[in-house]
């Protein structure tokens, strides 16, 4: 059995599975139940001046029979006084001293406000702090959350103010509602951040009721944008984690967040540079006990890979994540249809004919049986047929040898530039 312990910016945790700052970490009762189930850590629901929340807060996007493909919320930070939360944090830490408790914090962008809350929270024995510069709704209208997180200089300044007094590691949580997340990540590091966590939720409106014309959700007939999370956002989160992981100017541990629901998702985030991960929506959908399967699955995976520690996964795929201009233009894959698995539904033919390069023919074999066949020379290797195919194993994408040396777009441009100015000498016509 592999060692699942992680060292995250100096914070020791029995496993990489942390609950994200969100409704499941609202109270000591909930966090203690989570720890009983096996979660290695929890980021306590954001502490700050207690808010008043609305009734009707969540909405989900169901897609193709999958419930909660995406999740939207307009709930704000804690609505309970700081002392109540701190008392429960202390109780929880006392009962589970080996588990990680991180306090998520959000106050106005004023130095004295940050100093006050950091000192009061650290006094009860948290293992670290997470600065919430990501919440996109409600608090942002008050100049906090994403409103702070979208201004790199403000992220840097506030991080520095926290670091002036913090005794524990400081994690800066980043908003995805920005053009280039690495800019903010770099400013967090300049401010002294020991780690970053990403992503927070994405600006969203879950839907509009076409019968009542109300937004989903609505509060007495009025709606406001919320924060989107859940499985649908995972690719966006993974991309942003990868961008930060490969940026040398960032260079601090990453806590990966965004649509993580299974142990396989955890492996992906760790391979792409996360030292640990945080989960929210999957717990809201299925409960704390999903961690049991995540722990078993990760353990078995590490054993199968012959790895003794989960830390060996961190960042292994980062060198494989590059710029488009550095990809090999001479690498080629083609689709091959395996007749023994093909159910002749023709979805691949339709997809190729209507949306790709018209290279899958509907034929009849010598025995009169309908078959689908790829004209490999015309196949560009787009993968669409294998994506839409409903039959496992019916279409393989096979790498073929083009006989050409690897050549990227950037290399090609260098070659053309090397030929360069001579072209103007010839008359074009």
């Amino acid at each position: 059995m592999a060692d699942l312990r992680i060292d995250f910016a100096g914070i020791q945790s029995p496993n990489p599975f942390w609950l994200a700052s969100a409704p499941p970490t609202n109270t000591g009762y909930q966090v203690q139940r989570a720890f009983e189930a096996g979660w290695g850590g929890a980021v306590w629901k954001t502490l700050g001046e207690p808010v008043i929340n609305t009734s009707s807060r969540f909405a989900a996007v169901h897609f193709g029979g999958q419930r909660v493909a995406g999740f939207n919320n307009i709930e704000l930070i804690t609505d309970r006084p700081l002392e109540v939360n701190l008392k429960e944090i202390a109780e929880t830490k006392k009962r589970f001293p080996d588990r990680t408790i991180i306090a998520s914090l959000m106050v106005e962008p004023k130095r004295e406000k940050w100093h006050e809350i950091v000192k009061r929270v650290e006094a009860v024995g948290v293992d670290g702090l997470e600065l919430n510069f990501g919440c996109p709704h409600g608090m942002a209208e008050r100049g906090m959350g994403a409103a702070s997180g979208q201004q790199p200089d403000l992220v840097q300044a506030q991080t520095a103010w926290v670091k002036e007094v913090a005794q524990t590691p400081v994690i800066v949580k980043l908003t995805p509602n920005i053009t280039d997340i690495t800019v903010v990540a770099r400013h967090a590091v300049k401010g002294g951040a020991d780690a970053i966590s990403l992503i927070n939720t994405i600006n969203s409106l879950a839907g509009v009721d076409i019968h009542s014309w109300n937004t989903i959700p609505h509060v007495g007939g009025q709606g406001a944008h919320g924060g989107y999370c859940g499985p649908a956002v995972k690719p966006i989160a993974l991309s942003m984690v990868a961008e930060c992981a490969r940026d040398r100017e960032v260079g601090v541990p990453i806590s990966g967040i965004g649509g993580i629901s299974t142990w396989q998702d955890v492996v992906e985030f760790m391979l792409m540079g996360s030292t640990g991960i945080q989960v929210c929506t999957a717990v809201m959908h299925h409960g704390f006990r999903i961690v049991e399967e995540m722990i078993d699955g990760l353990n078995n995976y590490l054993d199968d890979k012959g790895l003794s520690s989960v830390m060996e996964l961190i960042g292994k795929s980062v060198p494989r994540y590059s710029n488009w201009g550095d990809l090999d233009l001479n690498y080629k894959v083609v689709a091959r249809i395996n007749e023994e698995h093909c159910i002749n539904c023709n979805k691949c033919h339709i997809a190729c004919e209507d949306a790709s390069h018209q290279c899958i023919d509907m034929l009849t074999d010598a025995a009169g049986k309908a078959i689908l066949q790829v004209r490999e020379e015309d196949c560009v290797g787009c993968n669409l047929c294998s994506i839409v195919c409903p039959a496992d194993g019916a279409i393989d994408m096979i790498a073929v040898d083009t006989g050409a040396a690897p050549m990227s777009w950037n290399q090609r441009n260098q070659i053309i530039s090397g030929l360069g100015s001579s072209y103007s000498e010839v008359e074009v016509g």
Binding site: L329, N330, H357, C359, R375, E377, D378, A404, A405, M407, Q411, R412, I415, I416, G418, L419, G420, S421, S422, Y423, S424, E425, V426, V428
Partner: protein, 80 residues
């Protein structure tokens, strides 16, 4: 004509010129494709030949030929 057939025809023209002793002297790309200037290695001052390549694979092929070492050094030397 299939895309592959279009490429094959353009590749045949490229390879034919290279086989006749031509080398790539310049490539200019614009909205209409890639205009490739070929000159004879032995007679760099002679009349150039130009191909307008339309297919992506042919535009890739002509630079892959140079990149692969079969023509790039010679082409650059010819224009040094």
């Amino acid at each position: 004509m299939s895309a592959f057939a279009e490429f094959e025809e353009e590749r045949r023209q490229i390879d034919s010129l290279l086989g006749q002793g031509y080398t790539v002297a310049g490539i200019m790309e614009d909205l209409d494709g890639a205009r490739v200037k070929f000159i004879r290695r032995e007679q760099p001052s002679g009349a150039p030949v130009e191909l307008l390549l339309l297919t992506a694979d042919a535009r890739k092929h002509v630079t892959a030929v140079l990149h692969g070492g079969t023509g790039s050094v010679k082409a650059l030397e010819a224009h040094a």
